[in-house]
Symmetry: C2
Subunit: 311 residues, 2 copies
């Protein structure tokens, strides 16, 4: 089943202990789309500026991602500059320029209307909500957010959370959103805000899914029993940018590829999320995702399963 995703398509300038890249293609919707495209059809809604050209567009087309919903506007594309010099697990933001996103009015192309899955990637919750409202009939809605929106745009964010089946955020964001320093209690408080499933991403330690008592499918998972997918300890982390979005893309892309949302499918989706996140960080920007093959993905899935397999 096809996924429509709304989020940023952007340029990133990134510095890590492995080096520096200027204005490489980035943005939450870009990483998400590339990762999800290995599993299902993906359609993007975003806005870019006049600096977005055929070369960038080709990155989407090479993975057969539908980019008709990427609107061209006068001005410059969203730009982010950050570094990971002290800590590979947390980006230090040096500069964020919304540019064309500041006045973005998302429109859903007619060809996207039959999408059964919707992903609201990390972007202004006002935009997330507008897209959600224009696609009332989707089967499953998942979304992401970040500390900035939690801190300064909480009322708008809370409106978005009410309409989510699955929220994917990290440990810090979970605790911040709940105002509680214990992950389990924070997760429970976040589930009260709307999402029926919360996937907490732990970076190099994998991710944990918490289920609310109003839990939708996957049937059989209970509120009392979270599920944890491990991540591979990586020798070479070149650039952590996009790891969380790639996790989301692998997770949601795999779910959308399944006929039925069983607990087993959900658990495999968590592992595929970890797998895609682990690839994303191996090279700068989207480089690794662009050259990846489905065989490499499945080999690493087996490796991850082995990593915690008991018997």
């Amino acid at each position: 089943m096809a996924i429509t995703v709304v989020g940023s398509v952007a340029y990133d300038s990134i510095e890590t202990p492995a080096g520096r890249r200027e204005r490489c293609l980035g943005g939450a919707a870009t990483y998400f789309s590339l990762a999800a495209s290995f599993f299902t059809d993906v359609r993007v809604i975003a806005v870019v500026g006049e600096d977005f050209g055929a070369e960038q567009e080709a990155v989407f087309h090479a993975r057969k991602i539908d980019s008709r919903g990427i609107e061209r506007a006068a001005g410059k594309s969203f730009f982010w500059e950050g570094s990971y010099l002290d800590n590979l697990n947390e980006a230090k933001t040096h500069n964020t320029e919304l540019n064309v996103f500041a006045a973005f009015e998302p429109k859903i192309p007619e060809a996207y209307r039959d999408s059964e899955f919707l992903f609201l990637a990390n972007i202004d919750p006002v935009l997330q909500r507008r897209v959600r409202e224009q696609m009332p009939d989707v089967k499953l809605v998942a979304g992401d957010t970040m500390n900035y929106w939690i801190k300064d745009h909480l009322p708008a964010l809370k409106e978005v959370l009410k309409g989510l089946d699955i929220l994917l955020i990290n440990d810090t964001e979970t605790k911040m959103l709940a105002g509680n320093n214990n992950l389990v209690r924070a997760a429970r408080a976040v589930l009260e805000l709307g999402p029926r499933t919360l996937v907490v991403k732990h970076g190099e330690y994998g991710a944990t899914a918490f289920f609310s008592s109003r839990s939708f499918a996957p049937k059989g998972e209970s509120a009392e029993h979270p599920f944890r997918a491990p991540a591979l300890p990586l020798e070479e982390v070149v650039d952590p940018t996009g790891a969380g979005d790639s996790f989301a893309g692998g997770f949601f892309g795999y779910l959308a590829s399944q006929r039925e949302l069983t607990p087993a499918a959900f658990r495999r989706a968590m592992f595929y999320g970890s797998v895609m996140g682990s690839f994303a960080v191996e090279r700068f920007g989207t480089e690794r995702l662009q050259e990846l093959t489905r065989k490499e993905i499945d080999d690493r899935f087996i490796l991850f399963r082995e990593l915690t397999h008991l018997d």
Copy 2:
């Protein structure tokens, strides 16, 4: 097979968000022994002062731990005072008094001589080495250490590492010992220092075992494939003190209870380590380990297996 353990038997004053306890029974060898005693015979080598009485001794005897190697000396027992007010994952040490440990000359009781497993719990590496040298015929030696010894007693610690089959330390200690901020590279560097297996404890995220290319049993594990045991996300962490020692006790105790050191046994041992660590933090000091049953342990083992089970 019986384990001999050397390490601290001590009093701890602990403050956590859940409250405060003054001078409760603690020490690395105490937590290790209690945790390991659910799986195999345990014999302790330590020194205590005149403040250690029948009540404390009874804690060991209730779990059938051989305490004949706990020497009584004039003076006061080892004392540690710490808090976890800002961060449950890292203790802030307010006071450490070595007391009777300052002049300790470990002696191995005759009845301990046939122990096939030796655990060098966190204590001055000079003492760890003295015990190791007096027990040259043990089958498997594991050990722990902490940032203090890595920082200020590295030469003595390196001598200990040469004689270890398995080293159990946490993420920060691994990176500090290797002088490398990447966990996988740091693990490889630590394995060069002597231990053939390194178990890195991640607190609430579980633990990862790394195997050197000179790896001993478990046969079948390779240097390229680490193994990760998850931990349960806990709602109530009352007191993190002793979690790492309890992990080590569960891990090594289970290994010592197995006829053969197969990869499967090693992997189960990692899970039992996580299980014992998760119990230890549920109440202050050793309270939870003292009242624990083997049935509770096996139930949680099943829960942990479920936590990451894929199919």
